[in-house]
Subunit: 455 residues, 2 copies
Amino acid sequence: MRHPLLVPDLRELIRDGEVAGLRDFIAEYHPGRVAELIEDLETDDGDALFRILPTQGRAEVLSYLESERQSRLVESMPPKDAADLLHLMSHDERADLVNRLGEDTIDPVLPYLAQAERDDIRRLASYEPGTAASVMTTDYVTLPARITVREALERIRREAPDRETIYYSYVVDQDRKLIGFVSLKRLILSRRSATVEEIMKRDVIRARADEDQESAARQIDKYDLIAIPVVDASDMLVGIITHDDAMDILRQEQTADMLAFGGVTSGAESAQETYWQGRVVQAVKRRIGWLLFLFLAGFLTKHVSHFFRGVQLKLPDLMDFVPLMIGTGGNAGSQTVGTIIRAMALGEISHADGVRVILREWLTGFLLGVSLGAIGFVYIWIIHGSWAFAAVIGLATLFICMWANIVGALVPFLARQYGIDPAVVSAPLISTMVDATGLVIFYSVAIVILIKLSG
Amino acid sequence: MRHPLLVPDLRELIRDGEVAGLRDFIAEYHPGRVAELIEDLETDDGDALFRILPTQGRAEVLSYLESERQSRLVESMPPKDAADLLHLMSHDERADLVNRLGEDTIDPVLPYLAQAERDDIRRLASYEPGTAASVMTTDYVTLPARITVREALERIRREAPDRETIYYSYVVDQDRKLIGFVSLKRLILSRRSATVEEIMKRDVIRARADEDQESAARQIDKYDLIAIPVVDASDMLVGIITHDDAMDILRQEQTADMLAFGGVTSGAESAQETYWQGRVVQAVKRRIGWLLFLFLAGFLTKHVSHFFRGVQLKLPDLMDFVPLMIGTGGNAGSQTVGTIIRAMALGEISHADGVRVILREWLTGFLLGVSLGAIGFVYIWIIHGSWAFAAVIGLATLFICMWANIVGALVPFLARQYGIDPAVVSAPLISTMVDATGLVIFYSVAIVILIKLSG
């Protein structure tokens, strides 16, 4: 419960049917908080609180509720009320909600909506998921170029109640081509008799409708925008994406990168799916691809290991260190690839930095390997009593750390070179790559020191 | 080069000294794009373009330039010009810039600034890094409760040129206590004779100055705000954090989670440091802790392996499968922990879901293990010719996948239970935990099937 102090008072007001008091009370709250209160209350009380809200309030609160609750609340309304609610909702939220509702619910509601609204819902729902168009909304302000600032402000004021944002207005020509942009701040600061054309910015940062939603969101982030306009192939304005939706997109995409880093295939749909939404079979489907590939690749270690059967039987103690050696390689490699993918995601390293990055990671691996190797050397010398054996562990650790760091740095660059998103380079992939090669390093060092030098 | 078509034209205008033409041209562009053009041009031309800008334009463009370039440009200005620039910059950017400049540069500039501005810079620079206060700005609009909407709009218009945002205004009492909030949209839609008090929202979502910057940014994200007010311990308004800064914070924090997942310790400072800023020694420091811990923990596998010396010598072929078995466990565990940490970061699973999550992951592990195990069984039967040996690999794969999935799901919950950020639970940690236990599972299955049953 997020509001333990408020909930008991609210419950009492609801059960006493104090509608006026409740409305006054709730009016002070952000719609997101009202949604939390509704979810904190017992279901019946929460539903009652929602029904008490004025239609405008309902429209604002609804989008903050969990999606199943949204559907249930709308399903239980008379069709006319549901239509009034949809009419007041922001256009993107409305299209999402209608998509989730069954035909039984929505068919009686549609006749109460204007034709333009029905078309808008259909159009917004029709865009390919993952594109900029699929996350845009259509309730924005457009201005013609020739009107004055006074007229523009009047128009904005008139349209404000139905607009997702009024802080940016987009200037379009008679074909709805996007030709300029003006912020409300600029309008307020301009002479009232100036024309929009005189004060607008002509270089409008925009997204293409079929562009990846992430790249549109990144523009909002990069240029600190409140919204970005979305245009079609002929530069006609078709919608806007607002900063809050951009934040949601980036959050989803970045946490999807974490899935990928763990070795789970993340498509556009899995990025949007919550943990509970998908069924177990879908989770298995997203995981089995990489896991099977790495399992089959892992059979290589069997052959490498078999190749060194002679040294294993001669020095069976060596075998006991295999998990430690390849594990350390995997760990160092995971650290490196995490570091590199992050720096790539933040745009801190580009393709041209490849050689510098690899040298830097090699040096890091060298320093890490020297530290771990020295500790391993001392430990083994003490418990094993053989300096030669200790030297094998120490040196193999050093070489494996350097090698793992180089692999961890190189593979994301190679991925990008071949047009693969470096975010698919996962910790398991690097670990598996380092397993077989780590075995070769380990046994080779052992052969040189324990057999060639000592014997 | 991000603007290959514009740069040659610009270069020509700059070299011909076409100041008026350049100003007109540049005026159409977003300051972020002007900064890109400056960085795309040769250094001298870029510097010249910056100097041509009106002071307001310079103040806007500066914050989009790389920080070294910012410092160099300000250092080369006469102190009076630098002061004019600082005067027009947003307050948080200004404080950051002054912090980066040497005393030699800033001391001659300070006398040109008003006392209030000097105090503001000092105060903003004094907050603990990582707190909400350290990322806030002080150029926001406050309103008294008793004035009318008409007066409020007039005041906002007057103050707009110096304000980071005018879209949200904060209502304070005579002690500067935060008592309300009103959006410009609401002001525009209200009766001009109403008072601010009548239309403001009293439940203001706010951040505490000493709160973690990430939690403040998350509120902006959650409630779709353009800005969040920051208050001190006595609820006095001390600043605001805007949506664009919140986006930067969340981007930094989320990519820091990726570092942590790779097994790199990420403190507040490393989250803000770029890949190139820290020296190699610092990268080593952030990595050696986990790597050494896991290295020492990995010695456990040596003892486990040694414990099974008898079965190893009896069936040396088993040893060849050790890297594959523990590698598969590590991979499955990494996938699970990536999935769980992401779902926790998105708030999709809470503590109460522990048992459900572990059951779900166990089932996922079972299905993955059955698939991989079956493939392993067939493969080994074909190449090895022994169904018993194939059964060991198949069954061990199944048990290890189930076990790794349980460990990968359980550990983040345990971490959270003990007040540890689950994001520190890394792929390398889970891999290492599964290594020793995976060995036990593998050799135990081998003993039961190959020795107890067959012999």
